[in-house]
């Protein structure tokens, strides 16, 4: 053996070990992983059936209404145009599959990420354990865990959701942790001083005040999930990512471009809607969400006769202009 080139020999066979562990897991515990798939499968199937089964125009209308409700007319116009473009390019069906994968993934990210983020914000010890795990999840190339996921969960859309879940979870945990830690300490102190328990302080004060940051985390998670769809298509996940992959495989530039553009337009739609959801109510002029957008139009119809009935209530509401208040003090 050449002493100057000792690293020619593999001293620590990490690869072999991992192979052994994986084979052991696959042979003895595959049923566990198949069971983990079940909830993902249920949510994904429901969403996918709904989105692809319903008439295209109904879904388009629904997206327009949701966008209007969440972010006003501008967001509605942008989202509708983006989705219209996807439909006209002939990528509607695929985009609905991708959308259902992304939404399923976000649902499970929120389910897991919010409690982890809250726990991390409350205790430095938890955070010290969670942080390296998140670092690992974010830095390890996603191709690396495609193989074990396929071996444990097999291929298909559900496995795609699981791969995407691992990749997209970290920003939500990070920003939930950050959002809660950033709540002004005197806000929390005031809540404690008036007798709120830790749980009440969390739900009534900390989470609402952290919500804009948490929603930024949700937005990031969605964007990460979307960027994963092309990679995930390598384990036979269908949708827009598959169009891109097939386009590359066949050197079909047209097909790849349609898939790519579809992802971009889908991203624009989801990003605009989820970002406007995260806007604090202060920036929306303190209006209740059901008083704006399409629901505002509907409730406006019903509310009008009701308010004339209780004229006293409306008379007692404060003057609307802020300047009035400043001069009063």
């Amino acid at each position: 053996m050449d002493i100057w080139n000792i690293f020619d020999t593999e001293w620590v066979p990490v690869g072999t070990w991992i192979d052994q562990v994986l084979n052991w897991l696959v042979s003895d515990f595959r049923f566990v992983f198949q069971a983990i798939k079940v909830p993902f499968d249920i949510v994904l199937s429901a969403l996918e059936d709904g989105l692809t089964g319903a008439p295209d125009l109904l879904i388009l209308g629904l997206i327009a209404l949701i966008a209007w409700q969440a972010g006003g007319r501008r967001v509605a116009v942008v989202s509708t145009l983006a989705m219209l473009a996807i439909g006209l390019m002939g990528a509607w069906e695929e985009s609905m599959t991708t959308l259902s994968i992304v939404l399923t993934c976000v649902f499970f990210c929120a389910l897991a990420g919010l409690p982890i983020g809250i726990a991390a914000a409350r205790s430095d010890r938890v955070w010290n354990w969670v942080r390296p795990a998140l670092d690992l999840m974010q830095t390890i190339p996603s191709f690396v865990y495609l193989v074990p996921v396929v071996m444990l969960f097999s291929i298909g859309n559900v496995s795609g959701v699981i791969v995407t879940f691992i990749y997209a979870l970290p920003p939500l945990v990070r920003l939930t942790n950050l959002g809660i830690r950033q709540v002004r300490p005197d806000m929390v102190e005031a809540a404690r001083a008036f007798g709120a328990t830790k749980k009440q302080t969390l739900w009534k004060i900390e989470l609402p005040l952290a919500m804009p940051t948490i929603m930024a985390g949700v937005n990031q998670t969605i964007m990460m999930a979307l960027s994963m769809v092309v990679v995930a298509s390598m384990i036979s996940v269908t949708g827009l990512g598959q169009m891109v992959l097939r386009g590359i495989g066949r050197l079909d530039m047209g097909l790849a471009s349609v898939g790519g553009l579809g992802i971009v337009f889908l991203a624009i739609m989801i990003d605009r809607i989820s970002q406007s959801l995260g806007q604090p109510s202060r920036e929306r002029g303190h209006q209740h969400w059901y008083r704006t957008g399409p629901l505002g139009v509907v409730t406006g119809f019903f509310a009008r006769p009701a308010t004339t009935g209780q004229g006293k209530e409306t008379a007692a509401t404060p003057p609307n202009s802020k300047t009035d208040g400043k001069t009063q003090a």
Binding site: G195, A316, G325
Partner: protein, 354 residues
């Protein structure tokens, strides 16, 4: 209420201790207990404690009693531990050593549930930077203490509106804090503290962040309210003028230690040490120094005019402005001594040769 009124003596305060701290120590740091032992045994200074144990001294052996219905001011510069001390009363900060009593109950050994009940029902707190929650309307903010105790929505809203009306904020019930000016925001803070009708008010520099005119207004408004409601109040301030204006009694803090406790008169006329003396040096003494403190004991025949022994210096000076002949000082019909223009002017200058 009438029982409370009866207990009050001529000085406007009762002799029933509502809040009491006994030998409260607070050290911040991992080795607080060790540092406490050493600090007690060797009488270490603040800096020595930090050097040897890496602990910051917050409060050192603080003892005081607050009587029912009085306004007790804790005055000190920033870093003197006054905000730390007041947070021990509702245990937002746990003491390292010492006892805290509220109306006979030990606060320092209370469990979580009892403590939350105490905070929600017996103690109202007002904060220096208002600490109003931006996502809650004024009604929701003021009703928070009731909300966490599970009071039904309609009832707590009614109480919140009543509390806001008392603070002349009735038109702003469904507004948000950021729509209000600073003075109005602190009135919301007061309404929140009073909404559950607590017995005790903790006020942590409530008016410091406001501009002078509004501060004055709120001080007056609070004094009126305090006279009306008779709440036991602990009032933190870094402003001696404010302490004298607001406080029935004043405790002066320095480096975590209560240096002197007493009425404004006692502190201004008989400062316990140089630190307090330097503080009260600039306070106009006209309102505090009385005739019997500056007179010369009676000798010879009394001059023609006489004044009562507890006449404040301000009034004596006003009398001299008209006629500069010496004044006799009388108490219960006896002449105690007399005051000359020279005595009065010397007292005004701060030099007392009694």
């Amino acid at each position: 209420m009438s029982g409370q009124e009866q207990q009050k003596n001529a000085g406007g305060r009762s002799s029933v201790a509502r809040v009491a701290c006994k030998g409260v120590w607070k050290l911040f740091g991992d080795r607080a207990d060790e540092a406490l032992e050493a600090a007690r045994a060797e009488n270490l200074s603040k800096d020595e404690i930090r050097e040897r144990f890496d602990c910051v001294l917050g409060v050192r052996d603080a003892s005081f009693e607050v009587y029912e219905g009085e306004i007790f001011c804790i005055m000190g510069l920033s870093g003197s531990g006054k905000s730390t001390l007041v947070r021990h009363i509702n245990r937002l900060i746990d003491p390292t050593a010492g006892e805290i009593h509220i109306a006979g109950d030990r606060v320092d050994t209370m469990d979580e549930a009892a403590l939350n009940a105490l905070r929600a029902e017996k103690i109202g707190m007002v904060f220096q930077h208002m600490a109003l929650w931006p996502h809650r309307t004024l009604a929701e903010t003021v009703a928070f203490g009731l909300e966490v105790r599970g009071v039904p929505k309609a009832e707590r809203r009614k109480k919140a509106i009543a509390a806001l009306n008392d603070m002349e904020l009735g038109d702003w019930v469904d507004s948000y804090p950021d729509e209000l000016s600073g003075g109005m925001q602190q009135r919301v803070g007061l309404a929140r503290a009073l909404a559950a009708d607590p017995d005790i008010l903790l006020m942590d520099e409530p008016f410091s962040a406001l501009d002078p005119l509004i501060r004055r207004q709120l001080q007056d408004q609070f004094l009126d309210l305090s006279r009306k409601l008779g709440k036991t109040t602990i009032f933190i301030t870094h402003d001696l003028d404010e302490a004298i204006r607001m406080g029935d009694r004043i405790a002066i803090m320095k480096d975590g230690v209560i240096v002197q406790t007493g009425t404004a008169e006692e502190i201004v006329t008989a400062p316990a040490n140089d630190y307090v003396a330097a503080f009260v040096d600039n306070v106009p003494k006209g309102g505090f120094v009385t005739a019997d403190q500056i007179m010369e004991p009676a000798t010879g025949t009394p001059p023609g005019r006489s004044i009562a022994a507890d006449t404040p210096l301000d009034e004596i000076l006003a009398t001299f402005a008209e006629d500069q002949a010496p004044l006799a000082v009388e108490k219960d019909g006896n002449t105690l001594g007399h005051v000359t223009v020279g005595d009065a002017l010397q007292a005004l200058g701060g030099k007392e040769d009694t």
